[in-house]
């Protein structure tokens, strides 16, 4: 594989670029994208350095933020609202949802604005435009893994050192085979939605204003503060519309042993996520050729 790529890369070094008005519907130069992998890495690095330089706590914020959020949710929804968390400790229940949700929402929001917010670069230099959204999805994935390790540490603590250990039943088979797919669904969905929104926002800034509101609605439409089992049987079809529901549901069930939905929902979520990326890339590659003239 490496040898093959090296060969392709070498042959591309002195290759011929043809520039024309040709508008193909789906045109992604994967080899070129691979050549620019260093740029993806450097954008991710920039994101981290720029965000945490001159902060006292640095990346520790990524740990504190979901912990504080879980605390707030515990007080409001579990204690005051009396919402069930399927019998598992509140913090674990909320954290398991928040980590995935945080990954999705931050990657989606930042990607959806990427063409407008980095127009100052894109107007002056060419590189495969997909580099920017991909670097967002990667850098948010790193943050997800930081939060995920906090979740694992807390999980171990509750399982082995507290009385709640008996109600937590991690399923190792599911953890190995299903959680990577959960993460994949989340990444693909945020990338696909982000690309599509980015493409449309270039022409119609309206979407930019809708974003905050939209994300909040989506938050409550996803079982983060309530268990999936709370969704009434006759409204189960909404699960087909929101791939994040099965993703979070299976993730939670793998680590905490909570009851999960029928696997058919999970499969459909995966299919929708893949479809979203295809549509997103399609819209994005359509607009990337002309957006410099529009923006």
């Amino acid at each position: 594989m490496r040898a093959y790529l090296k060969k392709v890369y070498a042959s591309r070094l002195n290759s011929t670029t043809v520039i024309d008005a040709n508008r193909k519907w789906f045109k992604v130069d994967w080899v070129e994208l691979w050549q620019f992998r260093d740029l993806i890495y450097l954008f991710v690095q920039k994101e981290f350095i720029a965000r945490y330089r001159q902060t006292l706590l640095g990346p520790l914020w990524n740990v504190l933020q979901p912990l504080i959020m879980s605390g707030v949710l515990t007080v409001i929804f579990a204690r005051l609202g009396g919402l069930s968390t399927d019998g598992v400790p509140h913090v674990l229940f909320y954290l398991s949802g928040l980590a995935t949700w945080g990954y999705f929402s931050t990657a989606f929001v930042q990607t959806s604005d990427i063409l407008v917010s980095s127009a100052y670069i894109l107007r002056k230099v060419y590189f495969p435009r997909l580099v920017m959204p991909l670097s967002v999805v990667f850098s948010k994935a790193i943050i997800f893994f930081i939060q995920f390790s906090v979740f694992l540490a807390l999980l171990a603590y509750y399982k082995f050192f507290t009385g709640a250990g008996e109600v937590i039943h991690p399923n190792f088979l599911k953890i190995i085979f299903l959680t990577p797919v959960c993460l994949g669904i989340t990444a693909l969905l945020s990338l696909g939605m982000g690309l599509g929104f980015a493409a449309i926002t270039v022409k119609y800034r309206d979407l930019h204003h809708v974003m905050n509101f939209f994300i909040q609605l989506w938050f409550y439409g996803t079982p983060i503060v309530y268990p999936v089992t709370k969704i009434p049987e006759k409204y189960r079809w909404v699960v087909f519309l929101n791939p994040l529901i099965p993703a979070i549901d299976q993730f939670r069930s793998a680590f905490l042993g909570t009851p999960s939905l029928d696997p058919i929902y999970f499969l459909s979520a995966f299919a929708i996520a893949v479809g979203t990326v295809l549509v997103g890339v399609l819209l994005f590659t359509r607009i990337e050729r002309e957006f410099v003239d529009v923006i």
């Binding site: 011929t16 024309d20 008005a21 954008f43 230099v125 590189f127």
Partner: protein, 265 residues
Amino acid sequence: MKPIIEIQNISKKYRLGMIGNNSLRELLNTCSKNVREKGVLEFLKSLGTDEDPKKILWALKDVSFTVDPGEIVGLIGRNGCGKSTLLKILSRITFPTEGRAVIRGRSSALLEVGTGFHAELSGRENIFLNGAILGMRRREIEKKLDAIVHFSEVEKFIDTPIKHYSSGMYVRLAFSVAAHLDQPVLFVDEVLAVGDAKFQAKCIEKMRSVADSGRTIIFVSHDEKAIRTLCGRCVYLRNGKVVASGATPEMLSLYNAEKPLESAA
């Protein structure tokens, strides 16, 4: 020998007014205005063709020329003649409406120096980021790091975030990265000399040696002296069309002959 750059009948059309459709109300207004003026049927027909000659600007029309390997070609012409548009098309930032261009080799564009510089990053981190944006691999940048830092004369501050740089230090660092690109084809727009007089002389000197190294450069500038010293040949553009192309001195005198007439108008 095949020309390294072939530009064949490139045209670029901009639709004026269409660009401003930023809100739903504007969009509806234009539509309803068109429906009132033309009637529904005519309006629907016009959606496909959308050719209102008053609203169309051809920034480039039928531009063709070729560049041989090792040539330094200057693009001259007044503001708005299409030089920068052509450079943007060649560097793949925007695309032509018609025609095609073939570039036989890796190319990079310098439309400004320091693209993507981030204030919070150190000089060193910015060299890597900016270099990668311009198409260099990390390995290549590492090899050239010392040369870039040395040329920029900011050795002492290379690990300081560039928000603490003076504007002179900033442009020197930005230029140094650009000057150490090694793509065989370069498109350069006005970013020739930056900094104080002494550093500017150094920049010109560097550009000369880049030019002498056998690379192919298309160069846009309003600086006649720079054009004279660097470019063997010039292409003279006016209103998006090629007026003439040939040896630099003749082209410059042609251009200078036009200038007073146009500016008087």
